[in-house]
Symmetry: D2
Subunit: 283 residues, 4 copies
């Protein structure tokens, strides 16, 4: 039985030895260990993949003892995840289809280890794509007037499908605290610029105006500060004076797809940890 | 005899045909032509490398006729450059030595087709490097109090050596309008971020704090608005949570060297044109 | 009316002037001109986008005069393409679905300016994907024994749909001269390595064994020499010792999709010219 | 006192726990741990940076106990390195100066934590550069006839300066087994192609002829099979049809400098381990 343990705590001597010794004593075989110390913040991070003999292993006993013997002693924040159960990922979209096509294609190929209970959108345009991939599609229009109600409806949908995390696949609405608070570090957005450059609306237009020679895309966890959440993944591509805004948009699309897909995979594989509005990513 | 002609003017029908026909009629063999139309601004740009038989070619006649027959008719801004005479490049530095080492090494190898009449600095630290490469070094301290005088002294130095363009190779002072006005689009700076992200002081610290996954460097022409001049060249490299600020600085150094060197070469080869605070770069 | 003219011929003085003068005289407005001289082979290449007033322009007159006045005189190989008619692109696939998903998604979004009359495969596996995107799917099994017959069947299919060019989207069969001869420089393949490294079968396995730190993908026109045709586009991504072959394959998939899509677009936009088993690409 | 321990051994359960427990028991504070399992070869690799209290720590006792209690039990190959003593790096060059300039500049800046006892060359051309940086220069001509004698002379020089590792900074001679055997996995070469493409002589010419769209550079440990040793670092840059061989060479120079410098740093920081003609690199 494969498990992944994520830990962070104040940095102290002997943590690695204590944790690996504990896992070993419980019959675990450590397959992969990654560790990081943020020396400014004095915080220790660890990710540990271990295999246990399913017949001999009691998850609840392990958790209880880990909590008592290690977590309490080292003031750890920690979580353990058994392989097997697929996380449930909700997709929020508006009218752009490239990220939706890309994620649904990866899902259909079996490349993304998730369940997708539904796609929700403030527009009806992308319904045929969801249907083409046999994913339920909900159209919840959002206006200034109905925003509160719309978000309540979204929350109900999320809760009723027991959603684990949300992907904003070019969802052109600001998600308010009401939803963010229910899904802290569990909403992944793709922004079509190399953040922090060109935050906000129309980043390709701004990049064109500034005459940059490189454009980018950024995937980040959503926080209440627009485009300022912890960055998960970024990538860039070159442009020249010969590219018009339309070319920026076309080139950028491929970036957005790749960067968002990478971020989703890192999240699903529990390779991301958030601390101090930054991410530790164990590639 | 090799010449390079640079032109920009309002876009009109028939310009390419008119210019290439003229060069052909004057006995020129067009080796390389690059052209661009900025369709938003409706401006036409052209760069033309041609060979003429030195015995039959009169530069001043060519210039007069070109001006009368073409430039006036199409409202061109244009310039012609004969190969042969090396442009004179002044180097401004402070205490960081990596860009200085890099440019002087390239110069000594014959890779940079320039003359370097001197290195000037507000600190004495890098004198040994200039001397090691046998380049005169001037130490002109700059303080808040003496800034005006110091810039006058710099201007005198620039004038007396008949300098064509200036490279700020990690020069940690703001260059004021007094100097910029004498060298419009002729002062090249290297900024150690992916502009417009992290303009101003301490960009690596700011990038670290933001938790970006990619850092960059930007070379641009200096204008009166700090770090907002026309971008010539940019490049980036990846970073992770495991990199400390010191690592950003070390990784960034290699970027800065490469990006600055590329920008200098593009400038020297007259492959850059500036319009509307942006560059057209004919690679 | 927008046209694209492609020319190559022995390099001679005055070609640009002659061609641009001719287009201008015929009322054409040159929107974009790119030109290249292969100085080793002494060959001149040009790509010319021009707009003509549709009411005043006779394509057949233009072609006749161009041929007589220019092509004959300069020994040109040339072609003219009117915008408007979509080229017909046949897709050959086997069992891998990522390039198929990617190209059909781009096609459905309107990003690819082509018609796709059919997908053909030596296996039935990908039929549901073609159907999902409402593209006819033909299953033509290929074995050692029936290869000649299968290719005849493919040729019939291609002819009956008036196909302009073929994309091998991870088609795991060698295409023989019988088909290549009908579609010279019109069959685009994606090879999952950075050619010429790791030509032939199982390139990711070979790359893993060699311990490279970067893997790549290459799109090229198919010639009779396997994986040796003119390269259109290449891209790479980094790998480390921590990546297993399965990771190479997953990372490589994204490369393959992007590189193949770029090559297809360049071909469709007539930005590629082939000479001496190499490509001139007018980006 | 900072130490780095490198270990590899057959993969077994409990190694991490045993090693970290041992270090902890000896009063060590583990600053950084990286670990890798090659699952095909079933080999475990670990790199461990620890701090010990210099007053309480006996290196020889630690080594004896580690050997007895851990290394013997797990059949480890291991080594421990105290920070402080600078490794001695010999530079072999021929006529190309860019890598020499780059490494000596980094050395002079204090960026490279090495001593450079000498530069040796089969040509006298680069003597002024070595002298400019105040590094002793030895000219040992190499011909077919005298190769054996020349290598003996080189070996004497290396021995007399107690050299730890050798960098071939564009040394255009094949180094024979006589030298390689004395410095196994301690000779770093820079090859000017993306290996395994274009091994051997004149890779830029070969790349040009093949019409690749990307060129590269590769740094590797030297083995008896030319250009086939374990790869440490690779990087690439794009080229187009417009680049001539001379442009490949110029663009490639920057790649060679960067890739070689990175490989040297990784080696010096003991972040490289060699197994099965591949490297594990703990970035």
């Amino acid at each position: 039985m494969k498990t992944t343990i994520l830990i962070h705590c104040p940095d102290q001597q002997g943590i690695i030895s204590a944790v690996t010794g504990f896992v070993h004593a419980k019959g675990g075989n450590i397959v992969y260990l990654d560790q990081h110390v943020d020396q400014q913040a004095n915080v220790f991070f660890m990710r540990l993949e271990s295999n246990f003999d399913a017949d001999l292993f009691s998850e609840s006993d392990f958790e209880k003892e880990f909590q008592k013997n290690l977590a309490a002693r080292y003031t750890m924040q920690w979580s353990m995840h058994r392989a097997g159960r697929l996380p449930k990922m909700a997709l929020f979209v508006s009218k752009y289809n490239h990220c939706l096509y890309d994620l649904l294609s990866r899902y259909s190929s079996g490349e993304l280890e998730v369940d997708i209970p539904f796609v929700v959108s403030n527009h009806a345009d992308l319904r045929p794509i969801a249907e083409q991939f046999k994913i339920p599609f909900y159209h919840i229009p959002v206006t200034k007037a109905n925003k509160g109600d719309a978000e309540n409806e979204q929350l109900k949908l999320l809760a009723s499908h027991d959603v684990d995390f949300i992907v904003l696949a070019r969802y052109m609405q600001i998600v308010s605290a009401k939803i963010i608070d229910h899904y802290p570090n569990k909403i992944i957005n793709i922004h079509h610029s190399f953040l922090p450059a060109f935050a906000g609306a129309k980043p390709y237009h701004a990049a064109f105006k500034r005459g940059v020679k490189i454009i980018g895309a950024t995937s980040h966890y959503v926080t209440e500060n627009l485009d300022e959440g912890p960055i998960i993944e970024q990538d860039v591509t070159t442009v020249t004076h010969a590219h018009r805004i339309a070319d920026f948009i076309t080139k950028g699309r491929d970036l957005e797809k790749i960067v968002l897909a990478r971020a989703v995979k890192l999240h699903v594989q529990r390779k991301t940890m958030v601390y101090d509005n930054k991410t530790v990513i164990f590639y």
